[in-house]
Amino acid sequence: MKYGVKNINKSYKDLKILDNISIDFEEYKTTCILGESGVGKTTLLNIIAGITDKDTGDIIGFGDEVSSFVFQEDRLIEWKNVKDNISFVLQKKIKKIEIENLIDKYLKLVNLEEYKYFYPKDLSGGMRQRISILRAFIYPSRILIMDEPFKSLDINNKQIVIELFKKLKTVEKKTCILVTHDVEEAITLGDKIVILSNKPTRVNVIIDNSSILDENDENKSKLKKVIEGKMIRNI
């Protein structure tokens, strides 16, 4: 299955936000869309998700596909416990008897089974985002769209949530699109990094990161410097 966007343009009144954006999303890989805050990354994601209309261009492969989502905020329902929050999005998609088994299986996999009946108010910010990511992975979809999911987390929680994402990614194969402004996040998680330029937003560089993902910290920090250099030149 091929997923992508081709020649996407978007303006708000006279202000051009997205200028001829074309990106291919490789199946079962993670594509990181990297750019400074306010360049229109979320707008691009919203166009892909069908929340915002594009002016011109094509969305390829997403039409009939159901997608999972992780947002900047956890978006958990306060009056539902962890189990009910997850099963809320699964009903009508998976048989009722299977839902609980599935939730148990995944909670056990990520060592969160003791939190099954916890309400969101009893969970820390990091824990809430872990449940949000778990919900996205359990949901039967082939695409996972994530909009700066680690933005509101402190450094320790961020590391824990990133590890959870990596673990789930090995178990459940999904084509992931991750929007971020954080270069380190992009290098740690992205098989492909798409760097966006600033106002109007264009695709500046596409970096194949799959060979560097498993490499040592020295090579990663070299790449980080290169990306940061490119981003500074864009501003």
């Binding site: 998700a49 997608s67 905020e73 978006r75 329902i77 539902k80 809320f88 999005v89």
Partner: protein, 252 residues
């Protein structure tokens, strides 16, 4: 958290003792049972009221009127609140009615109600006048101010509309209503009794208070006030039980 609750309880008990001390001091200083009756005479009056064969009939009639009026207000507030949130026509039709109820003195409407309505219905109507606008606004605001991010999440995960209404909108409405149930029921009880004082239905606390006033039996009025406080406390426990039953305390 526990010590905070205990502190509150302590303060509540202290304030009750404080009120009783003021009452004792006032009744001893004035020394006139018609102006401020003593605790003893109030207690004797209360025993007499309770021994009266019609006592249960009187309080159950007032409680029934209060609950019936409250349920009618609640039902109409939910229906009209929902309709107002989805229809601009209903919303705009409701605005002048609410404006009228909020700005015209309640006593003026009560006088009209006394002319137009049966004296059994007037107390219910008076309670409705006060409580309905509060409940209606709560329902409307619960729908309009719902967390849009949660709704968007549900749509993106392709949860159908009925499930969204059942799992997000309705619990949010009932949670917000539950936070004002105590005060709304309290106001309703007070207004129903005020309506009873004016309309004089056959069995009612309000008619009995009016009767005690006519005989200048102030200890009888005080005794009824204490009984009303007990009924009000019973409503408080009822609302707490409902919150417990619906599991609201677990997540808030």
């Amino acid at each position: 958290m526990k010590s905070y609750i205990l502190k509150n309880r302590k303060l509540s008990i202290i304030s009750k003792i404080y009120l009783i001390i003021i009452w004792i001091l006032l009744s001893q200083t004035i020394n006139n049972d018609v102006i401020v009756p003593s605790i003893k005479s109030t207690f004797i009056s209360m025993i007499e009221l309770i021994k009266d064969p019609g006592f249960l009939n009187i309080i159950s009639s007032t409680i029934l009127r209060t609950l019936l009026g409250f349920l009618i207000s609640l039902f109409l507030a939910i229906i009209l609140g929902i309709l107002s949130s989805i229809s601009k026509i209903v919303h705009n039709l409701m605005q002048p009615i609410l404006k009228f109820l909020n700005s015209v003195p309640t006593i003026a409407i009560i006088v009209l109600a006394l002319i137009w309505l049966n004296n059994e219905i007037v107390p219910i109507f008076v309670g409705f006048l006060m409580v309905f606008p509060v409940l209606y606004e709560t329902v409307l605001q619960s729908i309009l101010n719902i967390d849009k991010n949660i709704i968007q999440m549900a749509y993106l995960y392709r949860v159908n509309k009925i499930e969204i209404i059942k799992n997000i909108y309705i619990p949010n409405i009932f949670y917000n209503l539950s936070t004002i149930f105590n005060s709304a029921l309290g106001i309703n009880l007070k207004m129903v009794i005020a309506g009873e004082v004016l309309a004089q239905p056959k069995y009612s606390i309000g008619s009995k208070i009016q009767l005690e006033r006519m005989y200048l039996n102030t200890s009888g009025v005080f005794a009824w006030i204490i009984i009303i406080l007990f009924i009000s406390a019973m409503f408080d426990y009822m609302v707490k039980a409902l919150r417990y039953l619906f599991g609201i305390n677990k997540w808030k």
